[in-house]
Symmetry: C2
Subunit: 433 residues, 2 copies
Amino acid sequence: MPVFLDATSPDFETAFQALLSAKREDSPDVDAVVAQIIDDVRNRGDAAVIELTAKFDRLELTPETLAFSAQEIADAVAQVGAEDRAALELAAARIRAYHERQMPSDQSWTDEAGATLGWRWSAVSAAGLYVPGGLASYPSSVLMNAIPAKVAGVERLAIVVPTPDGLVNPLVLLAAQLAGVDEVYRIGGAQAVAALAYGTDTIAPVDKITGPGNAFVAAAKRRVFGKVGIDMIAGPSEILVIADKDNDPDWIALDLLSQAEHDESAQSILITDDTAFGQSVAKAVEKRLETLQRRAIAGASWRDFGAIITVRDLDQAAILSNRIAPEHLELCVADPVALSEKTIHAGAIFLGQYTPEAIGDYVGGPNHVLPTARSARFSSGLSVMDFLKRTTLSQMTPEALRAIGPAAEQLAQSESLEAHGLSVTARLNRLNG
Amino acid sequence: MPVFLDATSPDFETAFQALLSAKREDSPDVDAVVAQIIDDVRNRGDAAVIELTAKFDRLELTPETLAFSAQEIADAVAQVGAEDRAALELAAARIRAYHERQMPSDQSWTDEAGATLGWRWSAVSAAGLYVPGGLASYPSSVLMNAIPAKVAGVERLAIVVPTPDGLVNPLVLLAAQLAGVDEVYRIGGAQAVAALAYGTDTIAPVDKITGPGNAFVAAAKRRVFGKVGIDMIAGPSEILVIADKDNDPDWIALDLLSQAEHDESAQSILITDDTAFGQSVAKAVEKRLETLQRRAIAGASWRDFGAIITVRDLDQAAILSNRIAPEHLELCVADPVALSEKTIHAGAIFLGQYTPEAIGDYVGGPNHVLPTARSARFSSGLSVMDFLKRTTLSQMTPEALRAIGPAAEQLAQSESLEAHGLSVTARLNRLNG
């Protein structure tokens, strides 16, 4: 059973704090092993990657077979059925259309002092995308990572995907093809992250690495951060549903379970202003758990981390939502737009009862790579911005330098940085001399 | 003497690689000490912060005197001379005007399927800004960090600044006042970062921490990352000047020295298409080093890490510039705008000979917190975006769900996530039933 909380009761604050700070994930300490793997790949390149792949994935590779060939990709993609292909194509088109709107524009203007100022956006030259192998090898995640990179204008986009015993998900290769990925390597783990960051004879280094992975991959990304850019370190998935009584309890139950089924560490929370409705949802969850394929995982998540919170009104729901800062937030209320204007700390908001979170996982258009573990307080989901960087531009005329140069000289003097000041003084002396 | 390289010579590539990979900074390993300090502050709050401040800063505080009072700030600010104040006010106004243009806009649209999609930006609720004490206590950095936060709409902005022996730079407090900072604490080091991240009885926790600091501060920021957001981990400063022969060698020398004087680990590089001009600049640097106040620091930086590279033409200069990906890039050539369109990997570009980099440090308008150590390949300078986060929004109508829901069901099935599919199916059954 999940925990039931009443936000109007005197002991609520303590229980809510406990819910917020519950440790949901035991991250094994793999840092030392990962450091060794990265050093090995830096020192021995392809040879190290090939050895580690033989050891962990039981797959014998050569420098020539590290990457999938065009023919291998074509053969695998040919196995995909028409319905899967059509669904993936629809998803790709919608994700691309959404992310194309995110492209920011360059700016340039001349101010009263005569200074021309502005900035220019440019794409990261090369990016690498980690795709988990096995069960968690989700083609949708390939689209969500690769399409923003290509929309941003990344010239070279490489994927690494481990293929234990040589097995690969053809849908992953189709997703890569639809997204315009340039290279696909059949490697994984910390060795794949190291190869992308430092390069080998066969694999050219990239500038940015994104994508989810296990504890080894996460530790490797943290370690190579600085040498390359990385995206966020994702934690277990979360959903918060705020629902009034005018909802079908079974729909809400399924929405809660669609996060719970990801992972035993996932967290699903319902906030409602109607205690009886909360009870009905709890019953509907139990009923669905009787037959759900992934009931072992979803049941554990719901039992250990699930919560149903009753609030006085929707304003109180919004306050709690902002404290939770959920990755996914569903607003199943009469006026979801009005409520969304109060729930400002959330990765993604799904408005109204016809927008189950699963739509956002696949075909809505917005990205499904979102901030977890309350980090929506300060960070955003993956976007084209993650594959762009901004260069600021400034150009002074002699008049502009005369107008604002003396202030720079004054401040340089106050900070005891003489050469800073002199670089302005030397120019002003000529201009005024 | 700096290193002289000729990009047209056969052994250039090896020498250039060595220059790119030179290790300029010995970071002491303070991670264990920092971990202990953070734990101490988490466990004992104010008491730990006060003890550590007595120990490191020789300053006895109480919970009541952790923050500067309004009167203390007013008294300190009253000591600032009129010229310093006017210069700081000009800088603040120009930085604010530039950063106000960075505010991104919300979007919302309805697509052909009937789905309403978009996103909304919102500010981080509370931010903390680390300001170093002592010599590196730069009022300009207070403006560069605090103004973007306030422009973004951060409600609560706290500064921590160590005041060893009780000494504080009145200009730092004036800069804080001009930028609209809400709280100023006289604490520093890892204990200040821990207090901002986890909060104490006196200091409420923040969501994001920015600002430069020493090895202890950098290690503490890395450790609290995830609990709060952080800005980049800044390395030693760098400048690349690309100059043709139609420049005053002394101006270029001063520009190179204005980075070298920051730090013995700073790096100043000149690229020119005229060997004789390169020699003239080298001479001008030596001449200025005879009298420069900070000649010990600037001289060491120039000797150990300085470089003058001769290239065939400006196209080759642009290629090398992109490989260096400098923090600061000055283009002192006949057509700097044309060249800037080729130098895409750089934190900030200064165009033409009347735009010394020092203008950008103080009064240009763009931010002076910029990516170092080649990270301009994948990251940008500080901006209002660092204090904002984006929430994606989506709302399906029944028609939209009918149109795109089946593809979500198909993909959920292919990823073996049954509850994801059922959350769509349950709704479609009702709509179609």
